[in-house]
Symmetry: C2
Subunit: 205 residues, 2 copies
Amino acid sequence: MPDSSKSAGLPRAESQSSTSSRLLLAAAELFWEKGFSGASTRELSERLGIQKASLYYHIRSKDDLLYEISIRSLDDIQQAVVTALANAPIEGRLQALVHAHLRTALEERHMHATQLTELRSMSEERRSAVLARRDAYERTVIETIRAEQAAGRLRMDLDARYLGLGLLNLLNWTIFWYRPEGPKAIEELADFFCDLYINGAAADR
Amino acid sequence: MPDSSKSAGLPRAESQSSTSSRLLLAAAELFWEKGFSGASTRELSERLGIQKASLYYHIRSKDDLLYEISIRSLDDIQQAVVTALANAPIEGRLQALVHAHLRTALEERHMHATQLTELRSMSEERRSAVLARRDAYERTVIETIRAEQAAGRLRMDLDARYLGLGLLNLLNWTIFWYRPEGPKAIEELADFFCDLYINGAAADR
DNA sequence: GTCTATACTTCGATAGAC
DNA sequence: GTCTATCGAAGTATAGAC
């Protein structure tokens, strides 16, 4: 990886617009539009304005791109949520999680959608590495819910694991229909999901 | 389509185990495992135990398979839900919808997952046809919710459209982690989602 | 309804010059 | 860091016999 800026966990500011800094995002967008197998390196290079062969100065293979997108997607969301949880008031942790998850996932929707749907296109070895990170994040969510139950803020009669999976259902599928140009802003949508998840849809009786 | 049993809306009983009756399900399973573009007609034919070329006696193209899977998936779920709504007691319509949706989607999970993720792999024309059916089903869901609001059983302060999208989030994503061998039966899971969606996760105050 | 054989296309990746 | 040129593999689909 001959990249001077290296991916040393630094915030990806300084959008140098260099080929290598645009590469991951362009690939994620293409994989999202065509699926990993349906996307060709030819089209990717066209979008970057370089020749097909020039791609291989930056990457070793198409597979590597998918792996890096998946890892980065999960690292970003894990980091955003952990930070949000640490900074949230004790009684607002669930809301902080929902906002951080949705904001990160929707702002990087092409990477997240790719990570969520293209596990199948990875080698066994890499799939395991991605799954390990996914499981770690799932545990973060479930443990947050368990703590809210223990604090008396969430129902104890429902299994924390399924409460967590239900919350992830609510959040993850949104990537597939959310449009940034649409009527609802991200924070507004996050508030809506918090309200629905916590208070339910039933009219007061 | 030289198929004597034709797909005349009949219940797909009589599993003759003929090649043509196994074809759609085998294709859906393969598309789900590899993605549409990642799946080869070679592997499909191997799974069916015939030669690659023999496929083309039953289908005109690989694209046709995807289209038929998508249409059938949506027709099945629409029909199951409309029937369930018609037979449900007036105050149990939402529960009937959730059960019918989840049961159909999970029982035919390969077809539904393919329909949900492979819209992008279709021609413009066919994508429109599938989207029209998807929109029609979405309207069925939203109208059911609107009726529940009017009857005073669901909150009026939340937009019926987003309540519908939220419910579909909850149900659709389940396809991606549900395992038939797992601990929770389909009906049990449906009851859980009904409870969570209607009553919310908050502890009683 | 299935076979063998093959035509045609597209793809991922490499070699080597600049 | 990007280019031109090309290789070899794999994919979809067709032709025509049985």
